[in-house]
Structures are given as C-alpha cells and as structure tokens.
C-alpha cells in the first residue's frame, strides 16, 4: 500500500479515535493517538490477517502488551472489518464487546487479554516458540509501552526470546517518554534502552514512529532477520496530531471533553487536507 494511503488511513483512525474517546468519557488518549501510524501499517500493509476469519491458522499473531492503549487497536480492527465501526460507541460501556482493556474472548481479532503490564510480551514469546517448534511460518508481533519496560516480566521475556532465538517475534516499543506519574526519565530511567536490548541479544531498529516509510522498512527488516528477535524502538509523540494533547503526560489516562474533541478533530481534518493535497 502507498505511504499516502496509509497516512490517510492513520488520520481516519485518529479521527475515529477522538470521537470514540469523547463518547466513552473514560480511557487513555495520548498513547493510542501516538500509535495510530504503527497500527495502521501493521494491519493494512504488513501483517497477514483475515477479518472474515479472525482465527485463521495461517495468520500473523498481534499482541498488545500495554493493553490500556486498546482504543487504537479497536479502531484499527473496526476499520479493517473485524467488527462494525458502530461498536466503537459502546467502548467501556456496560454489556459492550469493547472492554476498557482488551479481552480475547469477546473481540474478534484480539489475541490476548491484557492490561496488567508485561504479560503480552510473554504470551507473544510463547506463541512464537510454539509456532517455531511446529515449523510454521507465521510471524508474531507484540506492542509494548516504554513505561511498561519497568516491569520485571518484560525482561524475563526478553531474555527468553533471545535464548530461544525467536526470529519470528518482533516487538514494537512505543517510546513516547511518558508514563502516568511523569516523564519516563524522571520516574524510572530506561536509557540507554537500545543498548540494553542489544545486550540482551536482540536485533534493535530505531525509527520515527510516525514515519510510514520507516515503519514499513523496519518491519521488513525484522522479517528478514534470522537467529534473533527484533525490537523496533519507535520514537513517538504522545497525543500526536492534536496540539493540546501532544507531549503532555497528563493526557495519558484521561479523555477529551466534547469541546476539546471538536478542536482536535478540526486539527486532524486540517492535517488530512494537507496530506490529500500532497502530490506524492
């Protein structure tokens, strides 16, 4: 798929996301907006998935380890046809398909239940080792938050994946530098994160998490790497696309009001117009 098409899809996802969050009035804003480009490339360009058959045995497995950014997962799955877009208005509501944190049993296309941090990467590693043992070509992706890297379980899983040479596993770390209590460097410094991952035996690729071309290239490289798992360290802007939410850790765990949402939507529409006008 062309970069421009993907950019427009990501923009649509962001707009849908803002509407969903305004309607839900509960949930997380910054993380989902920041990961819109990566989710779009993953689901539209890179991973083999079938919305008509979510449990297709030949699919690629996509795990979300930092479950709280699930609104962007839901929006992407809905846009990709896994369930009707109308369902998004029921996010976090009683009797809804769309739980506040993902649940594998109710939502088509969702592989893992997640929320308590650190668990998704372990499950992805388990999935990868089982596929490898069976000689299957499916790939496994796990998306993690950078704050999540504080969890010990993440490092247990990192060691495990390298030990077992799980080259069918790719993790994408959302390096947006914020966590609930503040900037990651002031809460629990992660740097030098790339070096740490390399020291743990991983193939590390650093990218701009909003550059569609870079995301595609990195995922391609990850797929071609043999003998070790790949970690894509994606620098992202939390709240990307809406100036009020960008780079402000306070927007980690709250949702916009109707007015704030309308302002954000107007900004996103402006960006959309610019992309559409671009010749490439």
């Amino acid at each position: 798929m062309k970069d421009k098409e993907l950019e427009l899809l990501a923009n649509s996802a962001r707009q849908e996301l803002v509407k969903t969050l305004v309607n839900a009035q509960s949930g997380h804003t910054a993380g989902p907006l920041g990961m819109a480009d990566i989710f779009t490339v993953l689901y539209y360009d890179c991973a083999r998935v079938d919305s008509n058959n979510p449990s297709w045995p030949d699919r690629d497995y996509i795990y979300l380890s930092n479950g709280h950014i699930c609104p962007i997962w839901y929006v992407t799955l809905a846009m990709r046809g896994f369930f009707p877009v109308d369902e998004l208005q029921h996010l976090r509501k009683i009797n809804s398909l769309l739980q506040g944190h993902p649940h594998n049993e109710t939502i088509p296309g969702v592989e893992n239940s997640g929320g308590p941090l650190g668990q998704g990467i372990s499950q992805a590693a388990g999935c990868a080792i089982a596929l490898k043992a069976d000689g299957k070509p499916n790939r496994v992706y796990a998306l993690l938050g950078d704050g999540e890297m504080d969890e010990g379980q993440v490092w247990e899983a990192l060691m495990f994946a390298a030990q077992h040479k799980l080259d069918n596993l790719t993790i994408i770390i959302d390096r947006n530098n914020i966590q609930i209590d503040g900037p990651t460097h002031s809460i629990m410094n992660l740097e030098p994160l790339g070096d740490k991952l390399r020291a743990f035996g991983w193939n590390v690729i650093g990218i701009d998490g909003h550059d569609i071309g870079e995301i595609k290239k990195a995922l391609g490289k990850a797929g071609a790497t043999r003998g070790k798992p790949t970690a894509i360290l994606a620098q992202t802007v939390p709240g990307k696309g809406c100036s009020e939410f960008e780079n402000n850790y306070e927007w980690h765990g709250k949702t916009p009001s109707k007015e704030q949402g309308d302002k954000a939507l107007a900004e996103l529409q402006e960006i959309r117009t610019r992309i559409e006008k671009r010749w490439f």
Partner: protein
C-alpha cells in the same frame, strides 16, 4: 486380604518422614507387591489399562498400598501418558525440571519441552501463548513460586483469557520440610480457588496424581494441579475411579465425615481406624477436586453424619475447609472442625516432625472428630443454646494440648481455660 492399615502403622518403613527408606518388605507375589513393582519400574511407557493385573482384587473401601511414592512421581508418569495420547501436550519448567519430574519428558520430547529459566511470571505467560496456538501447556514450578509469584499472570493470561494452561504447583505443603517456611506452599489452594474458571485438583497419592494429570490434559481450560515432594502411602488403587469434580468415598460411615485432600488422606484413614476401635464409624471422602467442589458429596455427608471434619495440608483459611464450610453454611449447617495449618507459617524440620508439630496427624484428626461429635450431640438448630459451648466440651478442651491451636474456640469460650492450655 490383610489389614493394610494395621500393617502401615506397625511397619517402620512407611513411617512418614523417612523418604530414603524404601519398602523392600513388600513381597512381589502379592497383588500389592506386583502393583508396586510395576509402578516403580517405569510407568508411563504404556497405557494404564495394560498395567493392571487382570485378577487383582482391590478392597473398594480405603486400602492403603504399603508402597510409598510422591505425588510428583505420579505427575511425571501422567504427563508421559498425556503426551503419548495428545501430540499438543507441551511442558514448561522454570529451572526445576528434575524436581518436578519432567526430566523424562524433556528427554523423550525435547521439541515439546520449554525451559524458561528462573522466571515464573514469564513461565505462565509463555504457557498461555503456546495455548493460543493450540497447545495444552503444563507449566511446572514449586507452588510457592508458581502460582505463588505468578498469580497475576495466572489470573489474566490464563483464567481471564481461558487459556488451556495447567499450572503445576510442585513441592506444595509443609512436608517439603527442611527448606522452611519460604518454600512451604500453604496458601496455594486459596489463591487458585478464588479465580473464576480455575479448576483446582489436589490428588491424594501418586496413582491419583497420574490420573489427574491425564484428566487435566483432556480437560479444556485452566487447571491447577497440586503436587508434592514427600513420599506418602498409596490410598487409592488403579481401580479407584477418578473424575474431575467427583469426590471418592474411601470408607463408608455414618457418625462423622472426614473430608480430606492430598497427602493427608492417608492420615485420615489411620484416624478412621482409631475411631473404629471406639465404635465411631467415620466416612472418609477423598475430595481431590477442591473446585468445582462436589457439593453433593458434602451435603450427603452433612445429612447422613451430622458432623464434618476437613483435613488438608494447607492453611485452614481459604482451602478445602473453607470450601466445605461455604457449602454447609449455605445449605445445611452442621458442626464442623477444620484440621490444617492454623494461620501460621511453617519452619524447618523433617516432614514427620512438621506434621506432628503443626497438628496434621491422625491423632489431631481424631481429636477434631471427637469435638465435632460432642458439638453434634448438643447441636440443636433453631435454639439460641447452640451458640453456647456445653460444659462437656469445655472440659475436654482443657485437656487438649495441641500447640498454638484451636483459636477458633476462643470466641465461644471464656478466656481463662484457654490460657491454661498454653
């Protein structure tokens, strides 16, 4: 058939707490001997049915095989049988392969064995991930570590996700012995029992553990299997039925029901023997599945006997005793006593010493039965008097000398005699 229980009590080689001592005295030409020899000589290479001697007679009510084996041996055999039957059975271990008796599996099925290192949280997560691809994953460690420190992973990655993962808690209970309190899992049943969707199985001996492992592999969904290190006498035989959620009545009786699980079923049988001499007929129920609890068996016992004693190698809070109490308190309240570790940590010592000190012996069960019976005698539902402890009970209580025990009496009884007991 000889009275196996009397043999058990008199024979020094089966005294609990001496794991090194095998039982060479078992003659190989007796049914028990044959069975024992076959059990020792590499079980798991052929299906269970073939190993049963065709004409073997087994007393239906509570035979104790004089062969002592550990629960973990049963697990090692069971997983081999399960693996033979189902190519999707995989096993994971956190640096305790030999202790958990997975070494044979590892050797036989290297591609189906996963070593995760000393990382119990990851152990459960990886097992869940393997289950997503259609595997039936047995994740084994010591119970204090998993589910001890992997509870959140068991809750979310396994139970909430309904992953086909079998959590195997090895070296559970106080009888792990010398390692001390840190390594004695006495809360694992409680923390597993409270999780939605979790099935909790606490087998009574190696044979039952083997059957439970095979049954767990066939059962779709989360299961907790409690294993153990110490060798205990067999209380079930090859013929004893095993069905998840279905209690086994090992001995019939109508004066009192002793509902036991795990290794301590053997102590319950010895207790019943002592009680029989006093003309008290005790029903013995082997409650191998704590969840879903066989409520029918509990209520039948409450109805038929009017007095219940639970026995478990676990805290009296949250385990079998609590599960049984919940059922009878809801439907049919009868006097009940709980034998177990009484809200305290263990310590180093041999398993025999620990069973003695922490009140988990046949004699403690006998005492609990006497108390339950005394309360039953004075039990009169509907009258306020039931809240008062009768004088006869108070008198007996003064005589009881079980270290740091019976705190539950305190509420019903004046403080003075309690202090005297100490």
């Amino acid at each position: 058939m000889p009275d196996t229980i009397t043999e058990l009590k008199s024979a020094p080689e089966v005294t609990l707490g001496t794991p090194e001592v095998k039982s060479p005295e078992v003659k190989l030409d007796t049914p028990e001997g044959k069975l024992g020899a076959e059990l020792i000589a590499g079980l798991g290479e052929k299906p269970v049915e073939q190993k049963i001697a065709p004409k073997q007679e087994v007393k239906p009510a509570s035979p104790i095989e004089p062969v002592k084996r550990a629960l973990r041996d049963g697990f090692g055999e069971g997983i081999m049988l399960a693996a033979q039957e189902n190519p999707d059975v995989v096993a994971l271990c956190a640096d305790l392969t030999e202790s958990n008796k997975l070494d044979k599996f590892k050797k036989e099925y290297p591609s189906r064995f996963v070593e995760v290192g000393i990382a119990e949280q990851n152990l459960i997560g990886v097992a869940a991930g393997m289950a997503h691809v259609g595997k039936t994953a047995f994740a084994a460690s010591f119970a204090v570590f998993s589910p001890g420190r992997s509870w959140d992973q068991v809750r979310v990655s396994v139970c909430y996700s309904n992953a086909d993962v079998k959590v195997v808690g090895g070296h559970a209970g106080i009888t792990v012995g010398q390692d001390g309190a840190t390594h004695q899992a006495l809360e694992d049943i409680a923390i597993m029992r409270c999780l939605p969707r979790m099935t909790v199985i606490v087998p009574a001996d190696a044979i039952e553990m083997r059957k439970a492992t095979v049954a767990a592999a066939k059962f779709k969904g989360p299961v907790y299997l409690r294993s153990g290190r110490e060798k205990f006498p067999q209380v079930t035989s090859e013929e004893t039925p095993f069905e998840i959620g279905k209690a086994v009545t090992l001995r019939r009786g109508n004066d009192v029901a002793i509902i036991a699980c795990g290794n301590l079923v053997s102590e319950a049988i010895i207790a019943a023997d002592t009680l029989a001499k006093e003309k008290i007929s005790a029903r013995i129920i082997n409650m191998h599945t704590i969840k879903p609890l066989d409520e029918r068996a509990v209520l039948d016992a409450a109805h038929d006997t009017g007095a219940i004693v639970t026995v478990e190698e676990h805290q009296i809070i949250g385990g079998l005793g609590s599960a049984v109490a919940e059922v009878i308190a809801t439907h049919l309240p009868v006097p009940m006593e709980r034998v177990g570790v009484r809200d305290t940590f263990g310590e180093s010592g041999t398993s025999a010493e620990l069973l003695d000190k922490y009140g988990l012996r046949a004699q403690d069960i006998v005492l609990a039965v006497r108390q339950a019976l005394m309360r039953k005698e004075h039990h009169d539902i509907g009258k306020r008097e039931v809240l008062k402890v009768p004088a006869a009970v108070v008198k007996t209580l003064k005589k009881v000398k079980v270290a740091s025990q019976r705190k539950t009496r305190a509420k019903a009884k004046p403080q003075k005699p309690l202090r005297k007991r100490k």
